[in-house]
Subunit: 325 residues, 2 copies
């Protein structure tokens, strides 16, 4: 098995391989740019990690499909940036701003197709299963993005609404990545399904952490501005939980804060954060992450893994959940 | 073999089957809408037609993949309408206008994924080949769209530029459809490739006809406004050919006409059409269609088809090329 650092290096090399310069450059340059500006490469890493639990044969029939997961993820970000009118992504100008909107739409379209091309490198005996798994995931990610946009127009959503939405938008891709590695390594169906449930829980925790850091993160270690979610009234885990825990008077305060306009940005952030702390939302978020992590571990309790394998999985999961940036 | 009318009815029924109502409705309603507002269904028809040359076993393993071609085509139109800021398509409000831009982007994304889901219904023994054929086509269509947008900013393109662009944007999808049917019916590789070349030439002719009708079509039989290409200075077959044939003085006239603004729309259309006629561009366009049709026929001359089969293919090709709308 490769270490997490070795997997990082493999993925970095593969990123160069899958993004060759091609014509027309207005179509392919944005793809190379998007793939090169980084990110955590969580999805291919998860896929290579679970593959390594059952096989040592690392060749293109696993490396390319692992990159298909990253290519698909980056495609969704590229289109999300248009929909959200985001100017920057990971400290770089977004494709839609650096080139233009039409180029961003079309480059994204090609990335989703390229993801299928990369997926096509699997051993033919797994192609049907891999394609079904991937397509099911891809549709769900789009559904999650649509629910997320729909929720923006609702005054209120329940915790169930929220968890279903991030399940679709974030968790199924990490679940698919975990299952894909096992599937392509020839693991039995029940093991593949266990790893899917594992990845799903890790994915939920990962998103709760994302929401947590945007309010409680340290800007220095986080490496980017915090507070965007509060400024935009985003329906995060924290806000949904706050509404769940608030009494009538706190609920009124929450609603007043949501109605504050941009000129009160700092006051809004400080008051909202204080209210979250008063309500115990900060600790509850950590508990929610812990619960997901426990459920993840339970999902694979019956899978026969060595201590070395368990430790490797665990240290990756902890990096994803209990991270500072 | 089914007649062309029977194929139309089969495709109409399948359109209802592949567009079921699903949640979230802001994601799926636009897909049902886009698929329901019609179009010529050329691609699935071509696919079912070439399938019928080699097999009579019509089941979901051919019907769904045929619909994948239509789903992909409609996806490209949905995103093209955003890029072109088009208000109407086939006499109906475009998705981007009827809902909004973000919904149009995301619904299109799901359609391209749904196309792969439909394709996944092929007999597993053909899955790898079908997926490679489809993905190669899909990437090329996007490249063609990018060249088309790039060309808008160029003062001049050659006939080679134009033919390559419509080859990518229009012809490869019809070529892929023709080959897909043969492939899924188990036809030998050289026959599949011959049908690809056949479809490619039919596709080129189809696009030249499209350009022709936008200037020389009869609005009553055409069923929609003509003259849009001239108004928008679109680099059509007619304009490219006109530049190729023009002498120095006619070239100056062409450039003056291209510089006329919207307030001279009718004068511009009438003068441009007259210039095309003076240059013989109108007849040359018909000759170009004839040449493509001849090349198409030559491509499949070596394929062993009965007279009935040949006639059916021919009557479909003629409907596509020598059409009035």
């Amino acid at each position: 098995m490769y270490s997490l650092e070795e997997l990082d290096r493999i993925i970095e090399r593969m990123t160069g391989v899958v993004c060759r310069e091609k014509e027309p450059c207005n179509l392919y340059d944005p793809i190379g740019y998007m793939m090169s500006i980084g990110g955590k490469r969580i999805r291919p890493k998860m896929c290579l990690l679970t593959y390594g639990l059952f096989s040592n044969q690392y060749d293109n029939s696993i490396l390319y499909p692992a990159m298909a997961l990253e290519m698909f993820h980056e495609f969704t970000l590229l289109h999300d940036d248009i929909m959200d009118k985001s100017d920057t992504r990971r400290g770089h100008t977004t494709v839609y701003r650096k080139w233009n909107q039409n180029i961003a739409i079309l480059s994204g379209d090609v990335m989703s197709i390229e993801a299928y091309r990369l997926l096509g490198s699997v051993n033919p005996k797994y192609l049907k299963k891999a394609m079904d798994l991937f397509t099911d995931m891809a549709v769900k990610v789009c559904e999650g993005q649509q629910y997320d946009m729909d929720f923006e127009n609702l005054p209120f959503i329940t915790m169930d609404d929220y968890m279903s939405m991030i399940g679709l938008k974030t968790a199924v891709l990490i679940a698919c990545s975990a299952k894909m590695g096992a599937l392509l390594a020839g693991a039995p169906d029940e093991v593949c399904d266990a790893l899917y449930r594992y990845g799903y829980q890790i994915g939920l925790a990962f998103q709760i952490t994302d929401d947590y850091l945007d309010t409680f993160g340290n800007e220095r270690t986080f490496g980017k501005k915090i507070g965007g979610d509060i400024a935009n009234n985003k329906k995060t885990w924290l806000l949904v939980e706050a509404f769940r825990l608030a009494d009538a008077s706190q609920r009124r305060t929450l609603e007043e804060l949501l109605n504050l306009d941009d000129s009160h940005k700092e006051e809004k952030f400080d008051s909202m954060r204080r209210l979250y702390e008063d309500l115990g939302v900060k600790e509850k978020a950590i508990e929610a992450m812990d619960l997901c992590k426990r459920k993840a571990d339970e999902s694979i309790a019956a899978v026969n893994l060595s201590d070395v394998q368990k430790n490797l999985m665990d240290s990756f999961a902890n990096q994803l959940i209990y991270r500072e940036k």
